[in-house]
Amino acid sequence: MSRPEKRSKVNLFRPKKGHMRDEVLIILAILFGWVVCTFGFQFLVYACRGTGAGSLLTRLTLFNLPLHFWFTGQFLPLWFIFLCIIFNVYVDRITEYHSRKRDRSYE
């Protein structure tokens, strides 16, 4: 009788308990923020074309730039930096939390 194959030990969608699960949670949260603002916003601009909401997005100005142009050209790179900072701060914290009595210089 053949032995059943061992369950996968590393899987993004089935993380182990502990550090990996916390890490995967923050990864998914960051990716959600990344997708929604990048592609979700473009979808919104596209879907609202020719409507009142659409003209609001393209006529309202910020720093003399139409809102959609400012959001895409200037805000999104800033948003990415912000996401990276959030990720790093959170990962630093969970690393602190999960590290036991061990040589900390590794991290």
Partner: protein, 506 residues
């Protein structure tokens, strides 16, 4: 001195100063530490990431594509910055812990397969060649501007200059001071922009915001709407391009290898944040060059035809600086910055590509008994062969700088990114899946030119510059299906992934 003479003078001065500073650094480090290379902190690491990233595509191509397509061109800004989020959250720490320095090494080790390693090496070299073609186009255009010669002659002069610079730096053993390089490239891009904004009467302290009024003037005076969303292309095309550039960033060999130059994982992560900030500084500025360029043209009564605009797009930064009457030395500074970025990108990619030919193809596959000397000779010959191949393609460039670069990103996103993603996050991925995935990725990348005529759907779903939106998920599915249908990878590798790459806190 005229603009061209100033440019030649400033360019020579900048390149010479890099060599002198490098030599001084080498002498000091060997005196102080006894070995080359030093850690310069997270900010220094970030500047190195940004310097490594900056190329003709960032300093010339980006402004050109926005000048040509307006809002549609912002997909490049977003793609080339948003990719770092993917890279940071999904790969940076893990590949740092995995401990393999190049893409073929990672593939060879993770998937335990020589053929997979060979295919990965060939793909990495192909990416380098395509990327270098875009850089050579930028170098050719600048040399053509500096010496007042035709484009073809400019490319040949540029190629000779790059190879000479590589030989001189190599012979003197000059280390790259990437922090200084970033500083020079950034200042050389932003100071002329500030000058330009001031000259045109806009808010010059932060021209990245000051160009908003220029955009309004462009519409008010000439009815040119630069901000119209999805004017030339569809939402699908915008998203496909943006996604391709993002996953391509996550799979570009010379970007991935940056994480090994910092001493630990935490510093590697924080260096990415600083790197992204430094890159964004330049990317916030590029649209301003495009808008000022359009405005100056319109005010001079020049509304170029689409063909003329496309021909001029890649030199819009230099042309705008000249047309606005910037002092010759400042035009020279702008040219020197762009040329330095292209130069060092080419130098890095040619050397990495040649090392891959020597190590991953010649030594690992063809002749495992090769001596150190023979491998070195293959590497040197490889550099020249790659430079010659790039030169031949660049003599008749197939597109704009940004477009050619995007093809390299598409290939990286379709092949290397899924390989790393599943290699790190799914221990069941095996060598058969890796090989099938890479081959599928290559097919997706070339689908438009190869199959587009017979199957128009291939061209619609896999556009040459934007094939990864459909390509990457398809490759991931193929990798999963083939891996599940074939035997699992060795237990030792699965345990290594579990314990060393992901289980370091258990």
């Amino acid at each position: 001195m005229n603009d061209s003479s100033w440019s030649i003078f400033v360019v020579l001065l900048v390149l010479l100063s890099f060599i002198l500073v490098g030599l001084r650094q080498k002498a000091r480090e060997s005196q102080e530490y006894g070995f080359g290379g030093r850690f310069t902190g997270r900010i220094g690491g970030g500047a190195a990431i940004a310097s490594n990233w900056m190329s003709a595509a960032s300093l010339m191509g980006l402004a050109g594509i926005i000048y040509l397509h307006g809002y549609q061109g912002l997909a490049y800004v977003i793609g080339w910055t948003g990719g770092y989020v993917l890279l940071l959250v999904l790969l940076a720490s893990q590949i740092r812990r995995f401990g393999k320095f190049t893409t073929p090494e990672f593939v060879g080790e993770r998937y335990g397969s020589k053929p997979a390693r060979l295919i990965a090496a060939v793909i990495a070299i192909a990416i380098s060649v395509i990327y270098c073609v875009a850089q050579f186009k930028g170098i050719g255009l600048i040399f053509s501007f500096m010496f007042g010669v035709g484009y073809e002659q400019g490319v040949v002069y540029g190629a000779l200059a790059v190879v000479s610079y590589l030989v001189i730096s190599g012979a003197l053993g000059v280390p790259r001071n990437q922090q200084l390089q970033y500083l020079v490239i950034c200042v050389a891009f932003i100071v002329p922009l500030m000058w330009l904004a001031r000259r045109l009467g806009y808010f010059w302290v932060l021209p990245q915001f000051g160009y908003g009024r220029a955009l309004t003037d462009l519409w008010r005076e000439f009815r040119i709407d630069f901000t119209l969303p999805f004017a030339d292309d569809s939402l699908f095309q915008w998203c496909a391009l943006c996604f391709t550039l993002m996953v391509g960033t996550g799979g570009l060999p010379h970007v991935l290898s940056r994480f090994y130059t910092v001493p630990n994982v935490r510093d590697a992560r924080w260096s990415v944040v600083w790197g992204l900030f430094f890159i964004a500084l330049v990317y916030w500025s590029a649209p301003a060059f495009a808008v000022f360029g359009r405005l100056i043209e319109a005010r001079r009564g020049m509304i170029p035809s689409p063909e003329a605009a496309r021909a001029a797009a890649d030199v819009v930064t230099l042309n705008t600086a000249v047309a606005a009457g910037l002092p010759g030395w400042l035009v020279g500074v702008l040219a020197a910055g762009a040329l330095s970025a292209a130069f060092f990108t080419v130098a890095g990619l040619l050397m990495t590509g040649a090392a891959s030919i020597s190590h991953d193809i010649y030594y690992s596959f063809l002749n495992p008994r090769a001596s150190e000397r023979a491998r070195m000779q293959v590497a040197k010959g490889g550099t020249l062969v790659l430079a010659a191949v790039v030169l031949i393609i660049a003599l008749d460039p197939p597109g704009l700088i940004a477009e050619i670069t995007a093809v390299a990103f598409a290939l990286a996103g379709n092949t290397i990114f899924p390989l790393f993603l599943l290699g790190i996050w799914w221990d069941r991925a095996n060598r058969y899946g890796a090989i099938a995935g890479m081959l599928t990725g290559v097919l997706c990348t070339v689908a438009e030119p190869v199959f587009g005529g017979t199957f128009p759907a291939a061209a619609s779903f896999f556009p040459l510059t934007s094939s990864a939106l459909c390509g990457t998920p398809l490759v991931i599915l193929v990798m999963i299906a083939v891996s599940l249908a074939t035997p699992p990878p060795p237990e030792a590798m699965r345990s290594f992934l579990e314990q060393e790459v992901h289980g370091h806190m258990d």
